[in-house]
């Protein structure tokens, strides 16, 4: 089955609001000199301001865009416009013989995939590599001792003074962790500094993060005594990178994956995109991360609501969640999913998860038949047994959710942990709706 996106999903692919708007303007047959489609690709020539029209093409099986326009945005407005036009008026795409420029691009993509598959690693100087690894371990250990003292000082003096410390105080420690080649710890220290000290109850969240940091460094110190899987989580938490090439050599899980949500954040000119996926066959959840430096093009173009058939390789973990897409075969089908039946099942899953990985963060859940309800001036999701969990940041989506449900129970996708969950999507008449 080929790529078939709704307008909402296509617009969610846009890198910014301006591109979405321009894309919509281009979803007009008059703007396209030619357009065509077949099972593998969608293409068109868009008359821009230059003498030659821009050649826009979309790989429908592996979801990729290419355009001859000079835009640095990805996908560009022409790619979005062409997809939107196809979503709105599929019948006007009557041409099915691909032009040479489409053939050339598709062939090049296929060749590249084969080359990547055949790529052999260069011979490695193992002695030098071991020396470098040892030097790093030593630096990290020093950094961890530094961090242990820093945390102890905080506990000795009390966290009441944290709001007055200012960003710079946290940033200095974060920088020392970067120097100690422990970027994961640096990030966690920065997160501590980002605590919203003006909100009620900041102390509890701050302590959670501080203890997670402590568990990481303490766990890492004792990692010889733990099993192999959790030591991978500890190393990843400290900031040791698992090479993606190595991961890709492993076999993964091929499934129809539904993209549940995309969360975007930006720091130091690097945009981080978090894609939460659910495998409809394996019933597994996955997190794909994409980091985009300013001025660079994103490599991955997936959008919430999209179904992809792909092989995912998970990072080694006691509770595997983060993964990479090893291979994308084609756009996936929309099979039914099996989620959790009630909050009790979710709570049990949470308990099992924390038992394996006490410092883990949020994760997604698909839960059947939840109703939004108002209780003690807060919004909750209530299951068919009457049990409820509180919604996180409901003002962003509760009205849309309520309006679609009309008070009836719906299948819902949430992301969260413990007793707070962010609703990210729901199923309405068989369609996944992004909230």
């Amino acid at each position: 089955m080929s790529l078939n996106l709704t307008e909402e999903q296509i617009l969610a692919l846009a890198p910014d609001a301006g591109s979405a708007k321009s894309g919509k303007d281009l979803a007009n047959p008059a703007k396209w000199v030619s357009k065509g489609i077949h099972e593998k690709a969608l293409w068109g020539e868009c008359q821009g301001s230059g003498s030659k029209p821009y050649q826009t093409q979309i790989d429908r099986l592996n979801i990729a865009f290419k355009c001859s326009c000079p835009s640095r945005k990805f996908p560009c407005k022409h790619g979005l416009g062409l997809l939107l036009l196809h979503a709105r008026q599929p019948n006007i795409f009557t041409e099915s013989t691909e032009p040479d420029w489409v053939t050339a691009w598709l062939s090049k993509r296929e060749e590249k995939q084969i080359q990547q598959a055949e790529k052999k690693d260069k011979p490695i100087d193992e002695a030098a590599q071991a020396k470098r690894a040892q030097a790093r371990e030593s630096k990290v250990s020093d950094g961890i001792e530094d961090l242990r003292l820093w945390i102890s000082d905080i506990i000795r003096n009390g966290i009441h003074s944290m709001p007055e410390k200012g960003d710079n105080w946290f940033e200095q420690t974060a920088k020392r962790m970067v120097d100690a080649q422990a970027p994961g710890l640096a990030g966690l220290v920065r997160n501590l500094g980002n605590t919203s000290f003006y909100s009620d109850g900041w102390q509890s969240g701050f302590m959670d993060q501080l203890l997670q940091l402590y568990l990481l460094i303490e766990g890492y110190k004792n990692s010889n005594e733990t099993d192999g899987a959790i030591s991978d989580d500890l190393r990843l938490g400290i900031g040791f990178i698992q090479k993606q090439d190595e991961l890709k050599e492993q076999s993964g899980i091929t499934d129809n994956w539904l993209v549940l949500s995309k969360q975007v954040s930006e720091r130091d000119n690097i945009t981080t995109e978090k894609f939460w996926l659910y495998g409809t066959g394996s019933q597994r959840y996955a997190l794909i991360l994409q980091f985009i430096a300013k001025g660079q093009l994103a490599q991955l173009a997936i959008t919430p609501g999209l179904n992809i058939n792909a092989e995912l390789v998970f990072y080694p973990s006691a509770l595997p969640m983060r993964a990479i897409i090893k291979q994308q075969h084609n756009a996936g089908t929309k099979p039914a999913f099996k989620g959790f039946n009630n909050w009790q099942e979710v709570a049990e899953e949470e308990t099992a998860g924390f038992a394996k990985l006490p410092f883990r963060t949020e994760r997604p859940y698909l839960i059947h038949q939840l109703k939004p309800v108002e209780y003690k001036e807060q919004w909750w999701l209530q299951d068919s047994d009457g049990a409820m969990m509180q919604l996180l940041h409901p003002n962003k989506y509760i009205w849309k959710m309520l309006s679609i449900s009309g008070g009836a129970a719906l299948d819902v996708a949430v992301i969260g942990k413990e007793d707070r969950y962010l609703a990210v999507g729901l199923w309405n008449q068989g369609e996944y709706i992004i909230l």
Binding site: Q344, D385, G386
Partner: protein, 496 residues
């Protein structure tokens, strides 16, 4: 979890001042807690950190959902009307994204007219929009159906959708809802609208009274006079002035009669001998009005402190009086056909200076016959009367005069209600292309109801002479194309 709260409190104070008492931890954690406390290699701070981490994980692993089966949410009632098409929803989303208010108005009108509903996922956005744009509240309420009404129960800002009878809406609705009820009632049964007003009048404030009075133009008649006359004793200047404005719209009102009476005394026909007495011609004679007493002027609502530059006091008084009487008065009073009266006024030096006031009266009393006569006799443009002309005459006025002031006539055409002909489109687009900075996108957006579909075929014919204006004009042209396309889709979506 209580124990966690103790951890947080201890962390706030700091281990130096307030050492943590592990005895408060749950029984299940005691073996681990004891092991931590007995580990002599750990500092006091590390002991606390480990006890806290232990408690955190105990808390994380022990979360249970809140059992509250008694908490329920009422279910929304089933809709009785159909949802609008997917195309209609797509058009709506585009209109909102582009902030095209005039098109949104048309969309809502079409949706209401065809008795269709907005899809539930988009109801919150529409209610939010209507919360800030009160004029749309009645239509948005209708288009959001029972789901919108149900949803509004949870958001006080959307209370305007509450299902009310007309009576409820009139008694307890928002100001916009009440105005809408009055407007509808006035159109259906003008006398009943007055009764509705009389029933609540004493409890309304001056601003509301003024707003309600401003809705009575439609269907105004002699029957409204008793109610209006009772308002002349109102303290509020705003209410009084609105009342006078309305009374002046009723030819049989005492105010109009008073003005007519005075004009009867001041204006006569006079025969003047010409050609050494061999012939005579008619002339309008204006008696001096300057001698009117202050009391007389006040009674007639004439404010002599408000004389316009270049206007004499005499002219000011006559202008006021002429504007305040229906134009048919002149035919009855002077016993001449309208065309002749216009000719006489034009040919008289003083009379010609009163022509604008006369055209003002034509516009005010919406006298289409006189509007046409004015154009036929004078071939001059009187803006107040333009909207009263039939489409062909309206266009003739604009086209004939266009070159005299292309900017003004383009704006007059844009302010009109008649759909532009191809000839007019060309003139307007020509002017806009020559001066693209004066006629930007929003100007055309406001004209969406009067721009014909074929305007898109005429856009390429127009190009600015100067290169630097070309891009701006191209953007405006593209926008006009987009507007027409959205309108086409909108109409198609509701008429398929």
């Amino acid at each position: 979890m209580e124990q966690w709260n103790h951890i947080v409190t201890a962390a706030m104070m700091g281990s130096e001042k307030h050492p943590f008492n592990a005895a408060i931890l749950p029984e299940a954690l005691m073996p681990a807690a004891t092991a931590i406390q007995q580990n002599a290699n750990l500092s006091r701070e590390e002991q606390f950190l480990q006890l806290a981490a232990l408690t955190m994980n105990y808390r994380q692993c022990g979360v249970r959902p809140v059992e509250a089966a008694s908490v329920t949410l009422p279910v929304a009632a089933e809709e009785t009307l159909p949802y609008c098409s997917t195309l209609a929803m797509r058009v709506l989303k585009d209109i909102i994204a582009e902030d095209m208010e005039p098109l949104l108005q048309i969309w809502l009108e079409q949706c209401t007219k065809h008795q269709q509903l907005i899809h539930p996922a988009h109801i919150p956005a529409m209610l939010e929009l209507a919360a800030f744009k009160k004029k749309w509240q009645p239509m948005v309420t209708a288009c959001c159906g029972k789901r919108g009404e149900w949803l509004a129960k949870f958001n006080p800002a959307w209370k305007f959708t509450a299902n009310q009878t007309e009576e409820d809406a009139w008694q307890t609705g928002s100001p916009e809802q009440r105005k809408q009820v009055l407007k509808d009632q006035r159109a259906a049964d003008p006398a009943k609208a007055i009764k509705m007003l009389q029933a609540v009048w004493a409890s309304e404030d001056a601003n509301t009274k003024q707003a309600f009075l401003s809705l009575l133009d439609e269907g105004i008649s002699e029957a409204d006079l008793p109610f209006l006359q009772s308002q002349l004793t109102e303290k509020s200047k705003k209410v009084k002035s609105e009342t006078i404005r309305l009374m002046l719209l009723i030819p049989s009102s005492p105010l109009v009669k008073k003005n007519e009476e005075l004009l009867r005394q001041l204006v006569h026909l006079q025969k003047e001998k010409t050609l050494l007495g061999m012939s005579s011609k008619l002339k309008i004679k204006f008696e001096p009005a300057i001698n009117l007493s202050k009391e007389e002027l006040t009674e007639l609502g004439i404010d002599v402190t408000n004389i316009q530059p270049g206007e004499t006091k005499e002219e000011h008084i006559y202008n006021h009086l002429i504007r305040a009487v229906p134009v048919e008065f002149w035919e009855t009073h002077l016993g001449l056909p309208g065309e002749k009266i216009i000719e006489l006024l034009q040919s008289d030096e003083f009379g010609s200076r009163l022509m604008l006031a006369l055209s003002g009266a034509v516009g005010k009393y919406k006298n289409r016959r006189w509007a046409e006569m004015l154009w036929q006799v004078t071939e001059k443009v009187y803006p107040d009367t333009l909207s009263l002309l039939p489409a062909d005459k309206w266009e003739e006025v604009l086209v004939k005069n266009f070159d005299k002031s292309s900017d003004s006539f383009t704006r007059l055409a844009m302010d009109g209600e008649h759909i532009w002909s191809t000839r007019l489109c060309k003139l307007i687009l020509g002017e806009a292309a020559r001066n693209p900075y004066n006629f930007q996108r929003n100007v055309f957006l406001k004209c969406i109801r009067i721009m014909p579909d074929e305007i898109v075929h005429l856009l390429d014919e127009q190009k600015p002479a100067e290169d630097y204006k070309a891009t701006f004009w191209k953007n405006t042209s593209d926008y006009i194309r987009q507007l027409i396309q959205i309108r086409r889709d909108l109409i198609k979506a509701f008429n398929a």
